[in-house]
Symmetry: C2
Subunit: 432 residues, 2 copies
């Protein structure tokens, strides 16, 4: 079956719709449309255009008011057929009024200009014809697309969906539509996406992929598109940001470990060209330094991305170089899960041989083995707050705080034990 809904791109469609279903050989003959599709479209059309003369389609369209004065019919034969959507003109014709009246009658803000019975008449016709305003035409005229864009690195990474979800919720409330794109952390893809979204006319952008001093920022500022950075800190005075206090999060993790007697603590960091990786590493180092007098000795190794695989590799390298560590602070939960997988694969017990702390507290981190002690990032809040700022920017309202730093919270679970407990069990890992 052919499900195409644009079957007549090159078919003599204007002719087709002149004839009734009974007398339409040319149409069916063109074979560009299945009988089923034809009947479907035809019926819809007949219902929608009930008040129209069923003559030449082009001519009918042509009877629009402009047509009244111009005698020449422009032929637009190669224009892709509109999905024969009901327009404001159709409604106007049905109601026997001018389209401007229809527009007013259907717009709550202009409705007061119209008599009640007129509103009623217009609404009835609109409902009857199944009229739906063309948002693009409206946007073109009003210069407001009621559209926002969200750019993330990868929706497949479980930190992002809650952010996007929260944003969509907030904007749906005010009738905006949310378009999303994934960059996979490729600057090129990000640039292309920003370009495409601006072309698309987004009224604002929420970006979760800005690197430090990202060139994408200049593009948005120049195009005069409100942007807010979420999750990552673009370190730009031009862009408000909403993020978690990464350094503080690492401090919580390090203190938690130090209180339990850990001294040889390692960090498995993420990429340092993004603020999350960078600030977490710095936070880790600073926290360790502050505890140096207690004998805390930090070490670090880095993944090239915040992924489980990188976590595994990094963990392997870490243990090769620093066999004496008792605890790991991972740059995020993905890396932490990678650690756990590696440790498990080597028969190294967590937390009894090595304790692990993650960050973000993604879904299911309480269900994994061992239940992961991690620092929670309120991802939905991140999205909500970013949305609120963006809404203000779009509406031209001042924003009180353009540098929002959410508080991290330590979730104590089972992947950390005290050094004492480690020593009383088979603390040492199997020799390599």
């Amino acid at each position: 079956m052919n499900f195409s809904t644009r079957p007549s791109l090159s078919a003599p469609r204007s002719h087709a719709f002149c004839c009734t279903a009974m007398q339409c050989p040319a149409f069916v003959y063109s074979k560009l449309m299945s009988m089923h599709t034809f009947v479907k479209i035809f019926c819809t059309r007949v219902r929608h255009r009930a008040t129209w003369p069923l003559c030449n389609d082009r001519l009918v369209r042509g009877t629009r008011d402009a047509m009244a004065k111009k005698t020449k019919t422009t032929s637009n034969a190669t224009l892709p057929e509109r999905a024969n959507r009901t327009t404001i003109v159709d409604v106007a014709r049905c109601a026997g009024v001018h389209w401007s009246t229809v527009s007013r009658g259907l717009n709550p803000e202009k409705r007061h200009l119209i008599s009640p019975e007129m509103i009623e008449r217009v609404e009835t016709c609109a409902k009857q014809l199944g009229y739906r305003a063309n948002a693009m035409a409206s946007a073109l005229r009003t210069q407001r697309s009621r559209t926002v864009g969200v750019i993330v690195s990868n929706l497949g990474d479980p930190v992002h969906p809650p952010i996007v979800r929260a944003i969509e919720d907030r904007f749906a409330e005010i009738g905006y539509v949310t378009i999303v794109g994934n960059t996979d952390n490729h600057p090129g893809r990000q640039a292309a996406l920003i370009e495409r979204f601006i072309q698309q006319g987004v009224e604002g952008l929420i970006v979760a992929t800005f690197e430090r001093n990202d060139p994408g920022i200049a593009v948005c500022v120049e195009a005069n598109i409100p942007v807010v950075a979420v999750f990552r800190d673009p370190e730009s005075e031009f862009v408000p940001s909403v993020r978690i206090d990464d350094a503080k999060a690492m401090e919580l993790a390090v203190h938690h470990l130090a209180e339990r007697g850990h001294r040889k603590i390692a960090h498995i960091g993420g990429p340092q060209n993004v603020s999350t990786g960078y600030h977490r590493y710095r936070g880790f180092r600073r926290a360790c330094k502050a505890l140096a007098n207690q004998g805390v000795e930090p070490s670090a190794v880095f993944g090239e991305a915040f992924t489980v695989e990188e976590g595994q590799f990094a963990c392997e390298r870490l243990l090769a170089d620093h066999n004496d560590i008792t605890a790991i602070v991972a740059g995020n939960d993905m890396l932490a899960v990678g650690c756990l997988r590696f440790l498990r694969s080597k028969g190294i017990d967590c937390p009894n041989a090595i304790s692990v702390v993650g960050m973000n507290d993604m879904l299911f981190m309480e269900d994994i083995a061992p239940a992961l002690t991690t620092v929670r990032t309120p991802t939905a809040d991140l999205g909500t707050q970013a949305s609120c700022i963006l809404v203000s920017m779009i509406q031209g309202l001042p924003i009180s705080n353009d540098r929002i730093l959410l508080k991290p919270e330590l979730m104590v679970r089972d992947s950390v034990t005290s050094v004492d407990a480690q020593q009383s069990t088979k603390r040492r890992r199997p020799a390599k």
Copy 2:
């Protein structure tokens, strides 16, 4: 700081831009824009409009070719200020040619109509002015929005993001932009979303929330919007669907358990008004019936949604009514995780007291305790295949198979053990 980029909705903006930064008291005075924003916009503007006379903005805009003949300047004072975006007319003016030539020069498909030096000139100007075609204007004219919509129940549910991700990837390839919406399984929200997306002019829709015989289908068919159902089966001849073979999946699970000696097997099902819940339950029953001669005795209890919480509640009810079961086949991984949480909370060992099988194999299901034996749904494939069908529909190509059923695959892990093993350990759960 005020980050607004539309500060002058009511400010005398056209006047503002007549003056240089030095002599602009009225503008700054209006206090609708911070100095910083003003300077930013002003600089951008000066750079972009370098070739324009810096006189009255409205007048400058008015010098468009239509203006040449009409003496009266229409005032559009209350129109929200365009983000003073460079238009095709600006480029034309810069290049000293007609805009139609610019349009052709910038469109790869029409470029052959234009002389090479003309193309060069146009491209130079476009680049210099930072021209970006207005996708909405283009869409309005061509009747193609290069936009598709994706509707899911909840991006926060980890099954959906990979689907959306795959769809976005496929459509980004052909320059389409993807808009997403969440319904939370509320028919009302779904209807509103479909309505809004159609208004927005989507060329197609991928819907993961169709119930059986969903009324939303008629809306799309009537509006002549290509739709493909993903994940769920709308049971409609009008809509192609791409889904997993739910019944087969349950069969795999039941057989896996039966082979390991389980006879009292329970199903924790999802909502029965959606095909996933419905077909999985039916598949479970059929598989059990086929093994009735081996003594397999099914039982079932249902959650009201595919959530962890519902899994917990359902598991509690199940054990209250059927204390003798040895294994549970959950309707999906969320329900399975709910089971595991409940069992853990009651000190009931999985798999040694009760074995559990999930479905979908979401991220981290191999990491939870115990590693979940589950039936994998290739979610990314679901998205990819749905996208391919939708692309064909949009392009008016015939589609070979409009009822795609992907094969499930059993992932054997640690949440199932044999009844023998169960009996040799502390099989019986603590009495309630």
